[in-house]
Amino acid sequence: MLYLLFILFPISMAATCFVLRKYTELIIVAAVGTIFTQAFFLAQIPLDDLTRILGIILSLNALNRLFIFLFLSIGALAFIVSWHLPHGENFIPVTLLMLALNCTILLLQDPFLQLLLLLSASLTAVLAMVDLPTGAGALVGTRVIATAIKYLILMIIAGMLIYLSFVLMDIYQPGETRGQFPLTRFILALLTTGFALRFALIPFQTWLNDLVEDGSPMVTALVISIFQITSLFVLVLALQRFPTILIENPFGLTLLRIGGIVTSVSAGLLTLSQASLRRTLAYLLIYNSGMVFYGLVSISEIGLMGAMFELFNQTLAIMLLFVSLALLEFPDGRAPGIERHDLLRRWPVAGLGFISGGLALLGLPPFSGYASKMLIYQEAAQRSWLEFLPLLLATALAGLGLARICQQKLLGASATDDDLLGTRQTALVFQELLPPTESLAERNLKAEPTSTAILTLLLLGACLVIGLYPQPLLAMISDVIQSLTFVQAL
């Protein structure tokens, strides 16, 4: 009963919020209430207790519960952020639906069902991408539509490849070869390509670049962070059920590790040539995907622990980065269309959040991401210096890219004379539109939205606390990793 409530309640609330979507504040309150109710239901579900509903086996372990709590927390944060930073008209109902589907995926034990739900959730994400705020008198941008179409196509192709690999796993007989290649090699190739598309590994990264560049910040943050975690869980469950593909393909695993390294180094290199905050952020995320993938395909206790913990930290860092980005792009009363270099002075909390989020993503102390990156480095160093040094190089390159964009956009000098001229011209043109009580100076000194600034600081605090005290989370992840049979088998 609890499982059913947990799965169906947010779906029914999503339908309610869709009906009431014009009343933005009301549905934000309802959605945050739903999240708290979900958290309550989750706390009541017993751990490691297999339950069968309509022939489907559901189960919850400590790690799944941790990640579902994380989903619910970032969902609540996204709803609160949308109070001040307008998002799409259907943002709340679609996000509730996405959260419901993704939480259900973590409860399921059947890889076919998990994958089909993951694909369904990806379709709902497409709807969130092409959404406009209530009453917006504008048209949806063609870039956004192109991004949504690209995402849709790539996710369906990824799903098709993964599904095919699951079917082949299902009919596999030990020692069997079909055609000229061993079946396990074919399965591993399909599985890897499918998940490389989902993780946006190079050369399958284009959807992530476009999404970060054109999507609204909260939708992008949720799509990237939540879907990467659920994808990882689907992959781990598949490997758990079918460890043979790993045992019979040691060379394949080496190639996959090289793929992770190539992704990280290439993305680190590409961060150096980006001209916008969003593009740089996109390549930082791809760099991190490469690191997570490296940890995952190392198929060792340390590597997997690093990958799982890094995904947790990445989610916090992504939320921090995108909330900060949304604030940095918030109209600040100054003349539009002029490139700004002083965003840290103008929006100090958002600027600080962006820099800290970037550092957390790079895994620099004392931010979260430090412990998980250290585990991934440790795994690489244990294997070979030829794997460890490129990963370090990737981090150094990504760090330089981050420093470069921060220097260009955040840490530059204050508004120039040209900016002021632009402001005065704008003010002269629109003078009559300004309320008589509102002076130009007041418009220039508009402060950051308080609630969003507080959320940014909270996220920053969470990144610091986890960075300084990662042991409880690491212990929990370690317990679950030790129970994975495919890790023991290798």
Partner: protein, 244 residues
């Protein structure tokens, strides 16, 4: 019992027509024929399997597949028929309305400058041929199912779907390509996982596959409507020319 060659022929011809033709008035009926053939083909496989499921389960699976196919075609056809109407114009500001007028003029010019040309079918034709060759090659090089007919059917659907995506010039065709890809894995799952050495089909997985197919049709219809509202055409070249 129907000879499996006939539904297979229906699958082959309809998927080929979807890849080759461009006008939705032909491709959407071809999609319906594809779903009908798929249903008959699967029905034939399910009822003659070595370890057949009970009569009601088989009938339910077939009925669900049939309804899904009809619903998907209906969703796409209704969307295509509704394109001549404008919605939500009252919410747009002057800039938005002006942009729409400009897009309508550009689409009109595009239509006027592109009469029927046989050369438009060259690439789809070669893609069709390539898909056919690849299907025959894969069936012999890499058989997955116990029956070569099933292998031919799912490889053909998957490859025509992928090639349709590759040669698609408009969003409708992209949608058709994606639906063919989904049909391919649907067929593979239903026919192969039901084999004696496999775990057996899950009713919930089949239901979710149908739900996913319907959701995909809805998503394609929604994106098509959105694109048409914006550019007055579904041409992908226009979308990438006017990326703003």
């Amino acid at each position: 019992m129907i000879d499996p060659i006939w539904p297979l022929l229906g699958l082959t011809l309809s998927a080929g027509a979807i890849l080759l033709l461009q006008d939705w008035r032909f491709t959407f009926p071809a999609l319906l024929l594809n779903y009908l053939s798929l249903t008959v083909f699967l029905g034939q496989r399910l009822f003659t399997a070595d370890q057949p499921l009970d009569y009601w389960t088989n009938s339910t699976i077939i009925a669900v597949k049939l309804m899904t196919g009809i619903a998907v075609t209906a969703i796409l056809t209704i969307t295509a028929l509704m394109f001549s109407q404008d919605f939500g114009l009252e919410e747009l500001d002057e800039f938005g309305l002006a942009e729409l007028r400009r897009a309508a003029r550009a689409a009109q010019r595009l239509r006027a400058s592109r009469p029927f040309r046989l050369s438009d079918y060259t690439i789809p034709f070669w893609a069709l041929l390539l898909a056919l060759l690849a299907t025959f090659a894969l069936v012999s090089i890499y058989p997955v199912a116990t029956s070569p007919l099933v292998d031919f059917a799912w490889y053909w659907l998957g490859l025509t779907g992928l090639f349709t995506l590759a040669v698609a010039a408009d969003l409708r065709k992209v949608g058709l390509g994606l639906l063919l890809c989904l049909s391919s894995i649907d067929l593979l799952y239903t026919a192969v996982v039901n084999a004696p050495n496999a775990s057996g089909v899950g009713v919930m997985a089949l239901a979710l596959l149908s739900f996913l197919t319907l959701s995909l049709a809805l998503a394609v219809a929604y994106l098509s409507a959105l694109l048409y509202d914006r550019l007055k055409t579904l041409e992908l070249s226009e979308l990438y020319n006017q990326r703003t």
